[in-house]
Amino acid sequence: MTKTKVDLSWQEIEVGGVVVNPGNAAEYKTGDWRSIRPVWDKKRCVKCGVCYIFCPDAAINEIEDGYFEADLFYCKGCGICAHECPTQAIKMVEEEE
């Protein structure tokens, strides 16, 4: 029962609320929970990947040049990456900014 199925009437719900297309939590945009988002300072980043390892939502990806960035569809803005970054290369900024 993912958020993509909000339109289902009670008759359309599978018996027992069973999800017959497993793994569909991937369709669920958790990014809109976020009030702050991580921003990388490439001058400070040493490409160690600690942010990638610590992200509890696997929402950080390595990009071509070896740096990292958050997938904002999933990133909830928890700030763990910024907390763990050994060179303080990640800052959490308010979404309005």
């Binding site: 029962m1 958020k3 199925k5 909000v6 289902l8 009437s9 009670w10 008759q11 719900i13 599978e14 018996v15 027992g16 609320g17 069973v18 999800v19 017959v20 497993p22």
Partner: protein
């Protein structure tokens, strides 16, 4: 027709579970349900029942195991009582939402406190609203028959809901009664192989027990509620076919001399048999009295119940539980709400009795009848209840 033998009701319940050829039994022994679990463990140990017997460490685990077993499409049985039901409460509520067709016997016993091992209906009333199909059995034969009925209804793809059979602790569980067993062929004909709507299997993975956001939760609950309401027709046809198979017919509401009676007793469980004798005695004394027994508790058979009480002026509702701070016993509360919209509302008196296995005799019921008639004469609309026979009141 099968063999008719004298057997303790708990043992015959276990024998019925064996005849249902369950794949797994997961249960924790608790008085007064113990003999059912013990006998099933013996049957598995002796090779008479080819099933996994899982001696769990608690009732919470028992029902959790049942969930897992049922989810892979295997037939599973458990049973408990009172505190055991309270301990498994969390999982009990999830089973109907997941539509897992588990069968459980609840040997009815008081919930503590004071600590009691004896019979009443406070345990079953604690999970009244949980969404299981719930039926009462009044004697050993009904327990045996309704175990097979329960699997048949639960596993029907149209229903796919757990079924709970209520049997009065000690009063039924520990009594030796003649029980007619079914022939193997009768069971095979009546109870087809379990084919689940959904099952966990690596070849076609599904997710069970997923969370529901507020945007879908109400719809999920309505789906569950509709499933329970609509199960009634399948329940009725399964009882009909049971009757056609072994010659014993069961109905959601069963009555005795109710058609012309001015006053009706309303009962649940083993009280029914005692009160039927009270009816005979009171009729001999010239009283216009009858009996209506509620067999199907959930989904409540509104139509059948209304029909059974339609000619009565007075209803005497007998409860074996109390809704503390509420308007009497749970059955009386239900009955009052059912008749509320009727043009001619019957007078209703409510007695709470038989708590913690306290004997309620034919004489006691006669006294309740006389008290009710007095009460109705003096204050017909008084919507109260009475603890029958309590000292100091």
């Amino acid at each position: 027709m099968g063999k008719r033998i004298g057997l303790e009701v708990s043992l015959s319940a276990a024998e019925a579970v064996k005849m249902a050829n369950v794949d797994c039994v997961a249960a924790y022994p608790i008085t007064p349900q113990t003999h059912i679990v013990e006998h099933l463990s013996e049957l598995v140990n002796d090779g008479e029942l080819d099933a996994e017997f899982i001696p769990v460490e608690s009732e919470h685990s028992a029902m959790s195991v049942c969930a897992g077993v049922s989810a892979v499409g295997a037939r599973v049985f458990t049973c408990t009582s009172s505190q055991g039901l309270a301990l498994m409460n969390e999982i009990v509520h999830i089973m109907p939402a997941m539509r897992l067709p588990i069968v459980m016997i609840l040997a009815n016993r008081s919930l503590s406190g004071p600590l009691s091992i004896w019979n009443d209906h406070t345990d079953l009333m604690s999970i009244r609203d949980c969404g299981w199909i719930q039926v009462f059995a009044n004697n050993g034969q009904e327990v045996f028959d309704n175990v097979l009925f329960a699997f048949r209804v639960a596993e029907s793809q149209k229903v796919s809901l757990p079924v709970m059979i209520h049997i009065d602790g000690f009063i039924l569980t520990h009594v030796i009664e003649p029980v007619e067993f079914w022939e193997k062929e009768e069971v095979e004909r009546y109870l087809p192989e379990f084919r689940p709507v959904h099952a966990l299997h690596p070849d076609s993975p599904v997710t069970m027990g997923a969370f529901g956001m507020p945007s879908i939760f109400t719809e999920a609950r309505v789906a569950q509620d509709e499933a329970l309401i609509q199960s009634k027709s399948e329940i009725i046809s399964a009882w009909k076919e049971l009757g056609d198979t072994v010659g014993r017919y069961y109905y959601p509401v069963e009555s005795y001399m109710n058609e012309d009676a001015e006053t009706l007793f309303i009962t649940q469980g083993s009280f029914g048999e005692t009160v039927s004798m009270v009816i005979d005695a009171l009729r001999d004394e010239g009283n216009s009295v009858g009996l209506v027994m509620d067999r199907l508790w959930r989904p409540f058979p509104f139509e059948e119940f209304r029909d059974a009480i339609k000619n009565a002026k007075n209803l005497i509702v007998i409860d074996r539980a109390i809704s503390h701070g509420g308007q009497g016993g749970p059955l009386a509360i239900e009955v009052r709400s059912i008749v509320y919209n009727q043009k001619n509302k019957p007078n209703i008196t409510n007695f709470i009795c038989g708590l913690a296995g306290k004997d309620v005799t034919i004489d006691d019921f006669k006294k309740m009848y006389k008290k009710s008639i007095e009460k109705i004469k003096n204050n017909p609309r008084e919507e109260d209840f009475e603890f029958y026979g309590v000292r100091g009141k």
